[in-house]
Amino acid sequence: MSVIDDLKQAVIRGDRAKAKELAEQARSEGASARAIVVEGIAPAMAIVGEKFRANEFFVPELLIAQRAMKEALGVLAGEVTDHIGTVVIGTVKGDLHDIGKNLVAAMLEGAGFKVVDLGVDVAPDRFVSAAQESDANVIAMSALLTTTMGAMKDTVRILGEAGMSGRVRVMIGGAPVTQSYAEEIGADGYAPDAASAVSTAKSLSG
């Protein structure tokens, strides 16, 4: 097996020390940052996502894979420039829950997206201005409270008022969020979990 194949396996099983070591070894042997992502990290996280959807992996496995992925990506810091899209992500205004949002951000990064993570308690206009600044394809919003879901509708509205609706698509998720809520507020997509979020983001980035 090649070093990049070994790196892929290390990320899948969440071995952060090995993932870092193998990313460094791959770089020192001349592998490009792009190859490491496209042949190693991204397929690893896609497999992690499939296993999560198939109920073989659960939140603990997702978390350790994410940590291993970040170690490997850290070795390539700044070298990966050709992303498959840019996603601005955050938890909405009034809401501090971030574990699910962090998992989605990690899965998106692992899949090859540039991720602009605004953190938590993010105001609707901040999502829109960040999307403008980063030339994003997608805004991804998370909410865990029924109280705070309404902020998602405000973001969709402000995006429309800024004339950006066609260019920037909106996807939403979080425990109380549903497909029908997404349709109700005019969001472009909904994902029930971190694994599905990647395929939704890919389809929305065209």
Partner: protein, 343 residues
């Protein structure tokens, strides 16, 4: 029959009319109902079926400033927003070697115990329940941080099990303290599920939590008390296990995560379900008609053969409008068989 007896009948899988219910409110919802009705006399129409007491302060908070505090595990919390938010875990590395584990006595509060005894005397016709906050699964993550604890259980499993055992030891003492109160049941609170399923997966839950929870439930039963547990999310996969280790009542039953009627048909004769009205759906977002219809369905479908206590999946949250809170109250009274004219 006294409210207490009606609850006990349901827990013993004997159907009752009226159906017992619990309806509690978070910040401000009840005062909004006072304004809505123009009087607070609606409160007297809710029979005190289940009354909660405690002798334990689960956090022992030391304030840092107006919006932050440190708990007795050394974890720092913010109460600036809802819910309280863990800013910094107290147990920073996966080892108990350098950590000053607080003793169980730290959390026993004599004032709370005195208050609990007074409440038990005042509500002696109610089904009295003692609780102590964070559950066995939750304490490791409030001590280590959620992501650390979840990683620990995979990559530092020996440490994680050692930590669970220390928490179990503490919780067994809390059971002993709580069982000294003249209560009918001891209620745990432990969120094992997310919207999709068991957070850590059923196999890992069975390996790490099941045998330890069994010890807690055995301890409660040894004192002749019933076991109750709040649990959010979808735990369908482990309900047979929960029944096996002796949980008498499972509370919350979020219909957005689990199908209450499926649970009833599969296990309704083996465990009592408490809850079932959707806090993420019909309560905040439904019309009055939708709320009435859901409550009617629950009362008709869940109480056959006993084993049911009506309730919202969570206490009515602050975003619940007065009109919807009133709809929940009125529907509860009407369909559970209580005099239903409110004021």
């Amino acid at each position: 029959m006294r409210p207490r007896d009606i609850v006990l009948e349901q827990i013993s899988h004997r159907q009752t009319l009226p159906i017992p219910f619990a309806l509690t409110f978070e910040e401000g919802v009840d005062t909004r109902l006072d304004e809505y009705y123009g009087t607070d006399s609606w409160r007297e129409q809710i029979p005190p079926y289940i009354v909660n007491v405690t002798a334990i302060d689960p956090d022992r908070p030391s304030p840092i400033d107006d919006t932050t505090y440190r708990d007795a595990f050394g974890s720092v919390w913010s109460i600036a927003g809802r819910p309280q938010h863990l800013l910094e875990p107290g147990l920073k590395s996966p080892s108990l070697d350098q950590y000053d584990f607080p003793s169980w006595e730290t959390f026993v509060d004599d004032n709370l115990r005195k208050q609990a005894l007074e409440t038990c005397a005042e509500y002696s016709d109610s089904f009295l329940v003692a609780g102590f906050g964070w559950g066995l699964f939750e304490r490791p993550w409030i001590m280590r941080g959620f992501e650390n604890a979840f990683s620990d259980m995979v990559v530092e499993t020996d440490f994680y099990e050692e930590l669970l055992d220390r928490v179990l030891e503490m919780h067994l003492k809390f059971v002993e303290v709580s069982a000294q109160l003249p209560v009918d049941g001891i209620m745990f609170s432990d969120d094992w599920g997310d919207q999709r399923g068991v957070l850590i997966g059923p196999e890992r839950w069975r390996r790490l939590l099941k045998p330890r929870l069994a010890k807690l439930y055995e301890a409660v039963h040894r004192h002749g008390k019933k076991t109750l547990s709040h649990c959010c999310g979808n735990v369908t996969d482990i309900i047979p296990d929960i029944i096996e280790i002796g949980l008498d009542v499972l509370q919350s039953i979020q219909p957005e995560a689990m199908n209450p009627y499926e649970l009833k048909s599969r296990w309704g004769d083996k465990i009592t379900f408490w809850g079932g009205l959707g806090s993420q759906s019909v309560i905040p977002f439904g019309t009055r008609e939708e709320i009435f219809e859901e409550v009617r369905r629950l009362c008709e479908g869940m109480s056959t053969g006993g084993g049911y206590i009506l309730g919202p999946a969570k206490a009515l949250q602050p975003e619940t409008s007065a009109a919807n809170a009133a709809a929940v109250l009125e529907a509860f009274l009407q369909f559970s068989g209580h005099p239903s004219a409110v004021v």
